[in-house]
């Protein structure tokens, strides 16, 4: 370890007192790259190994041979169908409610009440701080009976749980665009408020909105604590309580499909978003290089 870092130090002394700056600069960068490589490697191993193991179990039959049996058996496993549709219904309702609640609020606060932004940020981060276990404890202690007997009470609470991600995502999307100019332009051209939001603001924050929705859906499909204690058999509760003795691979398969699916969708959304910005950046770079030449 020392033998690697010492040349770097020497190189840096050269950088200060030598007369040729480019050489030490590259040497120094190599030193940085060395520890970076180790960090990325260790992190990569820690984060990919469980995913690999999960995938391996997913595509294995009970004798340890490669097969699609677990994935194939999943839809017909007892109880899966009901759990899946309950989770999907809860997810879609949560996504819809949280979009309807938070999109207008975040736009309005950014346009008209910027002083409330810190407060909104504080309130929307509270669900991270207040654990779901305490939230469901309080909900079950205070909700009226008719609400407790409906699974959609969970949706209501999931909107709260997803607020930190949704609000942050929307807020980031809003700061990436010149909201005020867009709104003023649309309004002065005669657009109504609804038209302005629907046809000007929303298309401009589509990536943010999409990633907020996907995150929300992922959260609902993976939420275990509240569903378990509220006594509803959603997908995660079903996975946990599914009888391992019959086929443990099905449980792992269900978990892995959820993880990998969410990840792929999110990466696609983010890279779509980035490819847009990269295109404009490349344009800027071409202009610069032509100038230099």
């Amino acid at each position: 370890m020392a033998s690697v870092s010492i040349p770097g130090e020497y190189a840096f002394v050269d950088a200060n007192f030598g007369d040729s700056p480019p050489v030490p600069a590259t040497q120094r960068r190599r030193r940085v790259r060395w520890w970076r490589g180790v960090v990325l490697l260790v992190a990569g191993a820690y984060f990919f190994l469980p995913i690999y193991a999960g995938l391996k179990f997913t595509f294995q039959d009970i004798y340890g041979k490669f097969s699609f049996q677990a994935v194939k058996n999943l839809p017909t496993a007892p109880g899966f169908h009901d759990a899946f549709w309950l989770s999907m219904r809860l997810g879609l309702i949560t996504v819809a409610v949280s979009a309807v609640l938070l999109v207008p609020t975040s736009i309005y606060v950014r346009l008209r009440l910027p002083r409330l932004r810190p407060l909104l940020e504080f309130v929307t981060i509270l669900p991270i701080v207040i654990p779901p276990i305490i939230l469901i404890l309080g909900v079950l202690g205070s909700a009226p009976l008719w609400a407790k007997s409906s699974p959609y009470l969970l949706s209501f609470e999931y909107v709260i749980l997803s607020m930190p991600f949704v609000y942050r995502s929307l807020d980031a999307g809003l700061s990436a665009i010149d909201l005020k100019t867009l709104v003023e332009a649309s309004r002065s051209l005669g657009g109504s408020w609804v038209q302005t939001i629907w046809r000007v603001v929303l298309p401009n924050m589509r990536p943010a909105l999409l990633s907020a929705m996907v995150l929300t859906l992922a959260l609902v499909l993976g939420e275990y604590t509240m569903a378990l204690l509220d006594g509803w058999n959603t997908i995660p509760v079903w996975i946990a309580q599914f009888n391992t003795a019959s086929d443990g691979h099905i449980q792992v398969a269900a978990s892995m499909i959820g993880l990998v699916g969410t990840w792929i969708i999110l990466t696609v959304i983010v890279s779509l978003d980035r490819s847009g910005t990269r295109r404009s950046r490349r344009r800027v770079r071409t202009i610069q290089t032509t100038k230099e030449q």
Binding site: E9, F12, A15, R28, V32, R36, V39, L40, A43, Y46, L49, P50, Y52, A53, G54, F57, L101, P104, T105, R112, L113, L116, P127, I128, V129, I130, P131, P132, I134, L137, G138, V139, S142, F156, V159, I160, M163, F165, R187, A218, G222, E223, Y224, T225, L228, L229, P236, I239, A240, Q251, V252, S255, M256, G258, L259, W263, L266, T267, V270, S271
Partner: protein, 316 residues
């Protein structure tokens, strides 16, 4: 006079309403109507959010506090709190705090290095991949995580089998996935991504000009970090670690599904009390544990707020 009024309207941002008001009524009602718009519309616009969060977040929290001080029949009492501050429930708090401390310091440090490595990496594809991965993994506690780790480090897991084949079975060396330290190991899987998510903006705000200035004045790499980088980042890092503390302290699903609820952590104990796994007549003890957790988390968040204020001094 006319241009002045016009200016005033523009400043409020209301385009048409007061200008198109009938001229006779205008003089008298305009100020009050404007005042109403100025105050009334924001209240109206904010009310869905405020009402929703109050019902969904405020009332449950108040209910927890209220129930913690009541017997099952509704009389005021401090008996629940006394039960909670002794014996197994006290142990639960101690374990939870210990776990959360481990889970804030270790992933905190690792996360900073990881975030910096990714941020300064020359591979452009790495950042979006890691950003989305962090976003997914940071919220990825619970049941899925449990099964992934059982598949890799359980007694027949992939890694266990590999290590066994070179005669290094971790289970023979006292490793057990279903204990306190096993849980601690698994928690890192969402704690490190959370740290990366939270700290990356702060790291990105370190200006190259600071480093260049330090280098021009002859500072070594170490001196730059010792006197510029770390002092500037420290409030952000501490703040992020406080968030990690809260996240680990609150986590339930992972520990529950991994250990089946036998580990003595406060959230697990609440869950067991609510599931009726204990003697009846103790339901409100769960609320008292909840209150205790809320107190710990409030202290954490107050500290977080103080540190944040300090952090925003340098990093915008």
């Amino acid at each position: 006079m006319n241009p002045l009024i016009f200016d005033g309207d523009m400043a409020v941002g209301g385009a048409g309403a007061s200008a198109s008001a009938p001229p006779t009524a205008g003089v008298v009602t305009r100020p009050s109507r404007r005042a109403l718009r100025r105050v009334g519309f924001p209240i109206l616009a904010m009310s869905p959010f405020v009402i929703f969060t109050f019902i969904g977040l405020g009332i449950p929290v108040l209910a927890v506090i209220d129930h913690a001080f009541r017997t099952e029949k509704g009389h005021l009492t401090t008996a629940n709190l006394r039960v909670v501050s002794h014996g197994v429930y006290r142990l639960g708090f101690e374990n939870s705090i210990k776990l959360s401390l481990i889970e804030s310091i270790l992933p905190g440090i690792l996360g900073v290095f990881l975030a910096y490595a990714i941020l300064t990496s020359s591979h452009g594809w790495l950042r979006p991949l890691v950003t989305t991965a962090s976003g997914v993994l940071a919220n990825f506690g619970g049941i899925n995580l449990t099964f992934m780790f059982i598949a890799s480090l359980g007694s027949t897991g992939v890694l266990t089998v590999w290590l066994k084949s070179v005669h290094l079975d971790p289970w023979n060396y006292g490793f057990n996935l279903y204990t306190f330290y096993g849980v601690a190991f698994v928690y890192m899987y969402f704690q490190i991504p959370l740290m990366v998510l939270v700290i990356t903006p702060a790291l990105g705000a370190l200006r190259t000009s600071w480093r260049e200035a330090a280098q021009n004045m002859g500072a070594s790499n170490w001196q730059y970090w010792r006197h510029v980088g770390v002092p500037v980042l420290l409030p952000s890092i501490l703040g992020a670690m406080l968030l990690l503390f809260g996240s680990a302290f609150a986590a339930y699903a992972t520990a529950q599904s991994l250990t089946g609820g036998i580990i003595a952590l406060s959230p697990i104990q609440i869950g067991n009390l609510m599931n009726g796994n204990v003697l009846s007549g103790q339901v409100n003890v769960g609320y008292a544990i909840g209150l205790g957790m809320l107190v710990v988390l409030t202290v954490t968040m107050v500290l977080y707020g103080l540190v944040r204020r300090r952090a925003s001094k340098w990093l915008q």
